[in-house]
Amino acid sequence: MVKVALVRPEADSVEQGLSSWAALVLTSVGGSANVSATDLRGTQVTRASVDRTVGAQYATLFFAHGQPDRIGDPTPWVDTLNIGNASGTVLVAFSCLAGDRLGPDAVAKGARAFLGFDDILTNYHPQPGLFGQVVDDALRGFLLSGKPLDDVRTKLLAGFQQIESHYLHGPGQGHSNATVIWLAAHINWRGLVLDGDRQATVP
């Protein structure tokens, strides 16, 4: 069994929205005979529990606030001081900004790969909504079908670009939220970053 952890602090309404993305992913992997998922949720998320969890997984997926140098804000769950615990593992961060400095830092300190966002990560509500579906679709091939991590990046890119196109030029352009939606999708895809081994696959 391949071990994967999902970390979702749910400390406020923004993180609760991101958590609904994680719930979709958990449902997708729930029936897998190959993937064992650990769900670190709400008050279970502490610096100590993250330290214990990250190094024991093939991959850890975060659904939390971020800063350029950390996942977690204001409490840093992962930063330069403990990112070395992720040595040899894959990190995916659905967090604002963490792909800017923490991603390269993680790989420099031994992480196999880091997929995240180097700018603001937006979420269009209600939940899990349009964006959560993109995230779940992108991760499914990696977690369940042997696709490389770069396939997640490619599918996130394509998924957000499709939403942008639909509401910018397509049938969705008359929607009351059309401009907000395509602007939000645009900044999401342009901020995608993947450092390290792009060909990492779930064994």
């Binding site: 923004v14 937006t122 509500h125 009351s176 401009t179 602007l183």
Partner: protein, 90 residues
């Protein structure tokens, strides 16, 4: 969260964006329903989004940054105009 510095949108540009957002929010079919989240710790409604941009709060600066990068695919004046053109939810 510290919002990265956004390349230039003038004060006048942002004021026009605020006016357009206010107009859009007031004619929105669900002006007080959760709509969008990013930097801050709250999910914003259309009315709150207009307030936050006007106040240049963390959330407001994040949206201004979104609007700035939107100019990669649409001129700023058109983005502003589109808020005025959005109609009922589909």
């Amino acid at each position: 969260m510290a919002i990265p510095i956004t390349p230039d949108l003038s004060t006048a540009d942002i004021d026009r964006l605020v006016l357009a957002l206010r107009s859009w929010a007031e004619s929105h079919p669900a002006p007080d329903e959760p709509l969008l989240s990013f930097a801050g710790a709250e999910v914003l409604t259309p009315r709150q989004l207009a307030d936050e941009v006007e106040g240049r709060t963390t959330n407001g600066l994040a949206f201004i940054r979104m609007a700035h990068f939107g100019t990669e695919v649409m001129p700023f004046e058109e983005i502003v105009a589109h808020f005025g053109e959005s109609k009922a939810a589909v």
